[in-house]
Structures are given as C-alpha cells and as structure tokens.
Amino acid sequence: MIVGFLLYPLGYEALLATPAAPLAETFLPAITFMVVVLYMGLFAMSFDFVSGYTGYLSFGHAAFFGTGGYFVVLAANGQVPGIPGGTPFMITLLLGAVVAGLLALVIGSVSFRLTGVYFAMITLGFAQVIYELIRSWGYVSTNPTEGATVSGDALAIGVPFVDALSLDVGRLTGESVENLLGLGIDLSATVVSYYALGIVVVVCYFAMQRIIHSPFGRVMIAIRENEERARAVGYATYRFKLAAFAISGFFGAVAGGIFAAYSRSVAPDGTFYFLVTADALITTIVGGFGTLAGPVYGTLFTQGLEDVLSTESGGIATLLREELPASVLEADLFGISVELFVNTAVDGRAPLYLGIIFVLFVLFVPNGILGTLRDRLGGTVGKRLPDHLRRYLR
C-alpha cells in the first residue's frame, strides 16, 4: 500500500509517455483524483475508527471534517482569536484537530447516552445544526453560504519554521520540484501536493493503527462485540467510547485541514454537510467496515470509478468518442445515436453506477474489499500474503 502510494505518480507519468497513454488516461485515476483519495480516505478511516471498531455509527462525522477545514482557513486568514495570521499550517492543523476532538467530547457526552440508530441520528442532528450555523455565520466571510477562502500565501506541510523541509500545497499555488535530489525527476505542483498530503495521511494511518492494536483498541472491539459484557467485566464503556470518538474526531479534522490546505477554500456543502459523511460511509462499506485501511481502498475504488466516468482527465466517454469510428457513433441505438447514448449514460454518470455498485457490495460483499480479502486469507494481508505467495511460487 505504502509502496503503491510512493510509486503511483511516477508510474502514471511514465505511462502517459508511452503508446498506452490513452488507456492509462482512461482507466487510471489522475493525480488530482488521487489527492482526493488521500484526504477522503483519511476522513473515511477516521469514520471507520469509531464506527467500525466500537460499532457506533458516527453519522455526524462531517462536523469534524468541517471543523478542521474551517479552522485551518480561518487561522490562515488571521480570523481565529489568539492565532496570528502567519502561523505555520502544521500548527493550525494540529490545533484545529484538537478543537474537533473537544467538539467530539461535547457531542459524544450527550450522544453516547443513546445506542444504535438513535446514536447515529443524534450525531447527524448535531452536525446538521452546526452546518446551518456555519452557513449563516457572517464572521466566516461576507457570503457564508459560499464558505471562506484562504487569502494569503500557500499553506505548507512539513516542519514548521524550516523552509527547506516544508512543501507548499495546492493545485495552483503548490510548489513544484525540478530535478528532485539530482535524480532528474521533475514533480508538478499537484504531485508535490500529493506527496505532502500523503505523508500526513500515512502518519495518521499509523497512529490510528497503533491505537487499534493497543489495549485500548481491544476495549473498543469488545464494546462493538458485546457492550453489555464489556461493562460486566469492568469497563466503564462510556469513557472508552468518548475517548475513541474524540480520537476519531481529531483525525477527521486532520483530513478536513489538509483538504482545506489543498483546495484553499472551504464551503459548508463540501465540509459540514451530511453527504460528506455519506461519502465516508459508502467508501467504508465498499472498502470494509472495521478494517481501518479498507476505507482507503474504498475511496480509491469510488474515486477511480468517478475518474473513469468523467471527462476531466481522459475517461471512457472521451476514449469512446475518439476511438470509435464515426459509423458506430452515428449508429442508431434504441432510437438515439450511440454518441448521444455515451454522452447521457456514461459521461459524468459516476454517482449512478456508484449507487448500483454500492447496492451490489452490500448484498454480495458485505465485508467490503479488504474485509473479504482478510477473510479469504485468514488474517491481515501483510501477515498472510508472504505465505500464500510462497505456496504459489513453489
């Protein structure tokens, strides 16, 4: 997974220079989509951290994503009291995450008095209340329904106050690197952002992974499996759930923060809105509930699908339009031409197919991509794969 993350942009760029370029452009997600995979993957992981491991569905998770995003943008504009405008992004990112963790404690202290679907509903309610507040909070910007934009310099990921160890991120404002370490590799601004965001995501992944494998993580799993018994053996489950929720909110806000740094703007609909949570829910189910890494694969899957079906960078529709002979394109299909069919049924129709695939996943692959893989292998992929490979190589 990590190796794939490191090599993907280089491989992708290399493929574009070969004759296979049209196919690569069509079926491999572009780097801009991979950046989305990174921050949405991290957000989905943070959702899975609490939902998949304690069994409490955090339907208001967008509140933490939004808190992280807005905090970063407002802090960059010097609008957060006590934080001067030029404070390094890494510090504001951390502060925003802590704020979201505290928010999670507040929301959780009320919500964890309920269980099951009632918990999901009340967290959703909290998030929607915050969404409405943010939409009409004039302090954020002159037009709060449209959100806020970073007005100053690009935000940098790296070691604060050390310019050489920091990388500016953003699709347009990011740094590009020429002749990396004298290896003759040039990296575009998007690719640099990809790596910079990726480092944050990988660090967060390992941190959550570590917590899952700690005694605390085992208590979370015990709560998911049988909360009544977990209490009966002596766990004050309320406190454990609250702590897990706060940690989850923390990492959800980190995801929101790096999203804001990359896009340089935040809007209520892209952060606090409940469909942001739904994205995380869908990718988590596709990737595998309670697997932590699964949601990243789920996001990769859904974003890959979106890339293939959109025309933003290659995509099936473009490929078909360019490669099919005119006679086929003009041929009649149920009363419309094939070209019109491609335009209406393929181009930008990712949500439709995603919906169908989601239903199929729920019906036939309920454990998700990674969950099913682990079931088949009888353990985590990292542990079991070497054995299986050895068996095939013999």
Binding site: R210, I211, H213, S214, P215, F216, G217, R218, V219, I221, A222, E225, N226, E228, R229, A230, R231, A232, V233, G234, Y235, A236, T237, F240, A243, I247
Partner: protein
Amino acid sequence: MLLETEGLTKRFGGITAVDGVDFALETGELCSIIGPNGAGKTTFFNLLTGVLEPSDGSIRFAPSGGRDAGAASAGADGTGSAIDITTASPDETALAGIHRSYQITNLFPTLSVLENVRVAAQASRGNDSWKLWRNVTDFEDHYAEATAILERIGLAEEAETVTQNLSHGEKRSLEIGVALAGDPDLLLLDEPTAGVSSEGVDEVVALIEDVAEDHSVMLIEHNMEVVMDISDRIAVLHRGELIADGPPEDVRGDEDVQEAYLGGYGREGSADGRERSADEGGRSDGDAAADGGRRVRAGGESR
C-alpha cells in the same frame, strides 16, 4: 461477611420481581439460589451487579482487604472495609470484585476464545486499558493469565478458535472463564448448565466445584441433584421473596419450599416432572422483563 443485602426490592411497574430480600453471604461459601422461573433470581443477580438499580433496600460488599493479596485472609473484620454498592454501575461492581456469568451465553462472539478471557483480564488491570501507544502483545501478563484460565476451564486447545464456533457446552465453560478473568471475590453463576447435555453437566459441575475451592460463589441452578450435591447453603426465592435459607438438608425438608418449588424432591424418588411443571406455571414476567424479553427458556427442550 462478604455480601449483605437489606430489604432489597425491585419493582417493574406493578410487578415486584424482588421483594425485601435480606441476604448475607460469608467468604468462601457456595450458595445456590433456587426458585421457580420468574421468582426473581436473575433480577437478584442484576441488582447485585448493578445492571438494575434497586427500587428499595441496600447492598453492601466487603471484598478481601487488599485485592490479590490473598482471599483467605478476609473474614471476620470485613465489615470495616465494606462498601455500599447499591447504586454502583456494572463496571464498578465488577472492579469491586463481583463477576458473573450469564444464563444466555453472552460472550464476544467473533473474537478468539483466548481474547475473550484476555480482554476480561485486562479490565482488572486498571490503567493498562488506557495505554494507547503500547501494542497489546507487549502485555504478557494478560496472556499468561488468560492461558492459565483456559487451562483451568479445559479450553486451552481451543484458544485460537473463534468463540461463535464453539460447542454450546464449551461456551458455557467459557462464560465461567470470562467471569474468572476479572479475579473475582464473588462469582455469580446464572444457570451455568442451561441447555447443556446430561453428559456435559458433569463437566460443568466439576468446574464449578473447582472454582468454588478458591472463590465465593452464588449459583442459580435448576438441576436439583446438582444443587443438593455441591451447595454449602441454599436460598429459595419465590415471587421475589426469600422463603428459605439454610443448609441443603434443612431446605429440602422445608414445607414452604416443597410447596413452592421442589415438588417433592427428596420425598419421592423422581420429582423432575413435577418440578418442570411448577417451573412453567410459576413463570411470570419478572425475569423476562429483567432480561429485556429475550430470554430463552433454559432447559425447556427436555419437556
């Protein structure tokens, strides 16, 4: 005195499931609680463990001074360190030293057998559970204790088995194992032989006797042979009231008990049939309500 209740009462709406029970247990005793279904036995356990809050009355618990120091040294002067657990939550009573097994198997179904016991052992090690940054496999003492318990309950070979794949009898043993992992001063066993085949019962009974060697035990049990055989003392609940309390031979001879429950056990040779019918007749809503209505009739398949 290890445990003492005074006027313990629990009402569910109009039903009084437990009615003014004064009960006391000495350290080291094995006391069986018997009575027809709906008599309030499980509700009584739920009150002791804090699952339910009493409507009235109080519960005092006097665990052996320094826990882990040696259960045997506790006893006469226990009243000094007695704590009031009347309104304690389930986790608080567990940490105080009361652990229970359930009438309906209530384990962590998708975890391994070892992990079921290990996570219970971890609970009694206070701060270990809050060490977010340590790998769980570093805590060798958790695994050592869990393995020792698995050996004791005869499931050492199944350590890596996923719990839901165990046989029913093995699950019943694991129920006791998970309760043991909390290093209890008082062990509450709720029908440990429920649904176990007649051959399996002997194994579970042997395990109970073994556990009773070094623990104080309260046992809810319907199998009269087992109860008469292994109990130091028997308490009889009937419609929430404690109608008899004493050594097995006294309780067996008690007229009220005969009337309410035993159906002639000890007077005639085989009383099983009548006992069962008394069971069914006496079943009211008390226990069902206490268990959230998902109670499965224990042992009902033998009717």
